[in-house]
Symmetry: C2
Amino acid sequence: MDQPEHLKSAGLKSTLPRLKVLDLFENSKERHLSAEDVYRQLLNIGEDVGLATVYRVLTQFEQAGLLVKHHFEGGKSVFELNKGDHHDHIVCLQCGHVEEFYDAAIETRQEKVAAGLGFAIRDHSLHIYADCTKKKCPHKR
Amino acid sequence: MDQPEHLKSAGLKSTLPRLKVLDLFENSKERHLSAEDVYRQLLNIGEDVGLATVYRVLTQFEQAGLLVKHHFEGGKSVFELNKGDHHDHIVCLQCGHVEEFYDAAIETRQEKVAAGLGFAIRDHSLHIYADCTKKKCPHKR
DNA sequence: GTTACGAATGATAATCGTTCTCATTTGCAT
DNA sequence: ATGCAAATGAGAACGATTATCATTCGTAAC
């Protein structure tokens, strides 16, 4: 339970809402949570937190490098714990489940292409939207 | 000027707003336009069109396959003429200019990765956000 | 332990992009 | 020309997110 250190090193006071949000991400089944998800789950746990605070905390955590933010189709942003490893996402169109993957070949090709066009990559996002090919979608919720 | 045919074959009446929007995309310097962009430019031309209509028309054109929609960081969606060729995008962080590219190796790797995970790709988006490496950004506006 | 002060919170209003509603207008087949 | 469904425009409504601001909390100094 070294959460307070995480917060401290990020220059953030160790407050109740912040600890609860961090805890949620570290113990939740679903790695990818939207602000609304976090808000609802905290209310369910009995935590009396405001939606505005959730948004603020998520943004602070993202800037502190604790979380990473992604924007998939469908309006709302989702956050996930930053494990330090870059990866891309494949989204199941049936159930919305998000799977992660990393492909070195794709990464290096991107660098090559960008360099060839005279750009230095600062960030990138690759989102694949797909149907599960198994008989019954194993991600159905 | 075969726009009416485009519309007709899409089952859309050939109305003034629709023709103006199509015309804008075919003659605009910037390939990627948001709804707001289209709206403003039409007003500048003296066309008295409503924002709601612009949104409706853009959506219809997308469904008809005339336009393609993209969602970059920063909230708003942009549309571009559908030339039938898939391509990805690199966005200049300095000026917001969008450059297009296509890399066969990346495409095939994506298919492989998705297949390996048990998915059939329906759609995907690869957005690279980068700094221009030339002394002065040639895209500065 | 109190105290004090700035940072953090929560309720709510505001904003932004987008969609919906509905009365009016338009395209087009007759 | 005429009629009617389709399309339009103004503005309301919407969902996600951000800003405002009075109140509460964390913590460092006493």
